[in-house]
Amino acid sequence: MRAQEHDGPQAPPVRLSGTSIIREITASGVEFVVSVPDITTSEGLLRPLVRAGTPRVIRVCKEDEGIGICAGLAHCGKRALLLIQQTGMLDSINAIRGVAVEYELPICMMVGLLQKEPHLRPRQSQRYGVRIVEPILDAMGIAYHEIEGEPDVAKIRSAIDDAYADSRPVVLLIGQTPS
C-alpha cells in the first residue's frame, strides 16, 4: 500500500501513545528493535523498549548498519524493526536501495520525523528535511504509512505483516512525539 492522500491540512491528531505502538510492535512478532536514538521517539518508544527487554533492543552507531542487521535477521526468519530518525534514513539511502529494495527484503523502518509540525502532513511541512521524505520514498517505490495520531497505530501490525508476506520494505513515519 502506498501513502494516503495528502490534500489539505489534517485535523489536530489525537496524541500518539507509546504504549499502544509498542503493543503493536510486539504483536507483530518483532523480536529485535535495532536503533539509533531519535528525539521524536526517544522517550515514548526507545526508553520503554529498553526497559522492557523484549523485543531485544540492539543499539547501533549508524542507521545503515541497522539495514544490514535486519537483513541478516530476515534471512533467519526473525522479524526486526529499525527505529531511527529521518535524517538517518536519508543517510542510509544506498543501503536501503541495495538491501531492501533491490534484494526485496522485508526491512521495516519506524522513522521519527524530526521537526515536523504536528498539525501538518509531512509533505506540507515548512521544513525541507521533512517534506522531501515521502517524495523520496515514492521515487524509490517504498511503501509507507503516516502514524500521526492514535487511530493510525492500528496500521502498524498489518504494515509489518504485509512487508514480511510480500518480502519488501516498509516505512512507518512517526509524525508526533508519542507520550
Binding site: E65, I67, A71, G72
Partner: protein, 188 residues
C-alpha cells in the same frame, strides 16, 4: 604476509557444513573457488555492510558459527559496526579482516593512511574480547582452529597480498539465484 587464497584455504579446512560464511568482494571471489556452499552469504547490497549482515545472522542463528571475511576498505566504511558487535556480543561471530591495504575491488587504490592504520587496535578499543593479528601462514595454520573455538565475538586481522587474477563476475555474489539459494539454505 600471506597470499589471500592460501590464507582462506587454511581457514576453510576448519569450516563445517553448519557454518555461515559472509565473504566480501575480493575475499568472496577467492572463497567461492575454495568453498562453494549455499551457506556462503554473498549479497550485502552496499559496500561495508558485511559485518552488520553478519551480526544479524549471528543473532538470528545463535546455533551456528557466523564467519565474516571482511575487507579493510569495507570495514573502514562501517567502523561503528565494531562497537555495535562488541555490545551485542554474539558468541558465535568470528570477524576476519583481509588486510591488503587497498580498495582492491575498486581499482587497487590505497586505503587512507594504510601504513599506520591498526584494525586490531580498532577492534580491541571497540570492546571485542578476543583479537588476533596473523601475517605468517604457518602460524595461522597452527592457530586457526583455536581461534574458531573461542567465545565470540572474535576479531582477526589477516595481513594478505592478492591471490592473482580473479573472475569478478558480480552476479556470482548477488544474483537473484544466489540470494534465493542462501535463503533456502538458511531456512533448513
Amino acid at each position: 604476509m600471506m597470499k589471500n587464497d592460501d590464507c582462506l584455504r587454511a581457514l576453510a579446512r576448519h569450516v563445517t557444513d553448519e557454518d555461515i560464511v559472509v565473504p566480501v568482494y575480493t575475499a568472496a571471489f577467492d572463497w567461492l573457488a575454495i568453498r562453494p556452499h549455499p551457506l556462503n552469504y554473498l549479497a550485502h547490497g552496499a559496500m561495508g555492510l558485511a559485518s552488520s549482515h553478519a551480526l544479524g545472522l549471528a543473532l538470528g542463528r545463535p546455533d551456528r558459527r557466523v564467519i565474516v571475511l571482511d575487507g579493510d576498505g569495507s570495514l573502514l566504511m562501517n567502523l561503528g559496526s565494531l562497537v555495535s558487535i562488541a555490545e551485542a556480543a554474539p558468541r558465535n561471530l568470528f570477524h576476519f579482516v583481509c588486510e591488503n591495504g587497498t580498495y582492491e575491488a575498486n581499482g587497487g587504490h590505497p586505503i587512507p593512511n594504510r601504513a599506520n592504520v591498526d584494525f586490531a587496535g580498532f577492534a580491541r578499543s571497540a570492546g571485542y574480547p578476543a583479537v588476533h593479528i596473523f601475517s605468517d601462514l604457518k602460524i595461522f595454520e597452527q592457530q586457526v582452529a583455536a581461534v574458531l573455538s573461542e567465545d565470540g565475538p572474535v576479531f582477526a586481522t589477516l595481513k594478505v597480498t592478492p591471490s592473482g587474477p580473479q573472475n569478478r563476475d558480480y552476479s556470482r555474489l548477488h544474483g537473484a539465484d544466489v540470494r534465493a539459494a542462501t535463503k533456502a539454505a538458511l531456512a533448513r
